[in-house]
């Protein structure tokens, strides 16, 4: 019996592909976001509203991850962005090789911003690097105010947190300050946006930030 030293990250194969994706997109001057949340927090609606507001200012491409259906890709395409749908057929997260394959179907050179909408899940997507520049976690006022404490890895791994459905605050028992406190305790550098995709409140600030990101001002 012989012992062989391996000393490599378990997800090294994924990280290698993610590194190639990031290099390729950066070479084209494209910024990439990986958007994650639990199901129903409003990732797709946030993208729809963002694409509508930034029409003519930013060219946005979207990779839509869902377990099944192309419903979200159809919504995004209708909003006016180049879209590729990935169906994972049961898998709980996207992996870098899926993004590489999806990119082959996008006219990358024409983009300013690529947004990857991950599978609705606050656990698994945090472990897989997809070649993104920035990770955004979306939470909403209807899903309970204990999400950062319950799913800390997701908040530790993100640079940005969006709190959506602000318009519903008067009707739900959601302590916004508590959510922010919990999230910042896990990740003191987290940049936070509070908005409502339904009323449009806070969307301008979010969109202006996206423009600065694309112009190369890092978070």
């Amino acid at each position: 019996m012989v012992k062989i030293t391996i000393a490599q990250n378990i997800l090294a194969a994924n990280d290698t592909i993610a590194g190639e994706i990031q290099q390729n997109l950066s070479a084209h001057g494209i910024r990439t976001l990986n958007i994650m949340s639990s199901p129903g927090a409003g990732k797709t609606t946030l993208l729809e509203r963002t694409i509508e507001r930034l029409r003519g200012r930013l060219s946005i491409g979207v990779i839509e991850g869902d377990v099944e259906t192309s419903a979200d890709a159809e919504r995004i395409e209708a909003a006016g962005a180049q879209t590729v749908q990935i169906n994972t057929r049961g898998a709980c997260h996207l992996e870098a090789h899926m993004i590489r394959d999806a990119l082959a179907q996008i006219e990358v050179a024409s983009l300013d911003l690529l947004v990857i909408e991950n599978i609705g899940n606050l656990v698994c997507p945090a472990a897989w690097n997809l070649g993104e520049d920035t990770r955004v976690v979306v939470v909403s006022t209807t899903e309970g105010d204990d999400k950062p404490a319950k799913y800390p890895q997701m908040f530790a791994a993100s640079e940005v947190m969006v709190v959506n459905k602000l318009d519903l605050l008067p009707y739900v028992d959601y302590d916004l300050q508590k959510v922010k406190r919990q999230a910042l305790a896990i990740n003191p550098h987290l940049r936070i946006f509070e908005l409502s995709c339904r009323t449009g409140e806070g969307l301008d600030t979010w969109c202006e930030w996206l423009i600065t990101v694309v112009k190369g001002v890092r978070v």
Binding site: M1, V2, N9, I10, A13, A91, H93, V123, A126, I186
Partner: protein
């Protein structure tokens, strides 16, 4: 649920290394798994056993996991401390300016093989 995908990544990496080393069989694999890596080690062991039972080179290989605690270092106090629930606040000075020094590991350390 992603433990199956992680177990699959381990099997693929070990199998590639085994071929490289002309191994006839892999008897054991040792990992380092951090407390903050998001991996449930019981589930990972279960998925690993299931996958190796289907693999001619790795059949019967045992999995050894070294758990790594989540710890951070406080520059202000020049001390390291245990991180609880991902909150890296120094228990002595209450500063947030600490840096995580361990607990996010997800590594294959070594394998035991038999070769021809």
């Amino acid at each position: 649920m992603h433990e199956l995908a992680i177990a699959q990544s381990i099997v693929e990496a070990v199998e590639a290394k085994a071929v490289e080393c002309n191994a006839t069989s892999v008897k054991g694999v040792r990992l380092k798994v951090g407390e903050a890596s998001g991996v449930v080690t019981d589930s990972l062991s279960f998925c690993f056993e299931m996958l190796v039972s289907l693999n001619p080179v790795l059949a019967g290989a045992h999995l050894l996991i070294d758990d790594v605690p989540h710890r951070a270092y406080c520059r202000h106090c020049d001390k390291d401390f245990a991180v609880t629930n991902f909150v890296a606040q120094c228990p002595t000075c209450q500063e947030w300016s600490s840096e995580v020094i361990s607990g996010t590991e997800l590594q294959i350390i070594e394998m035991e093989i038999e070769s021809s």
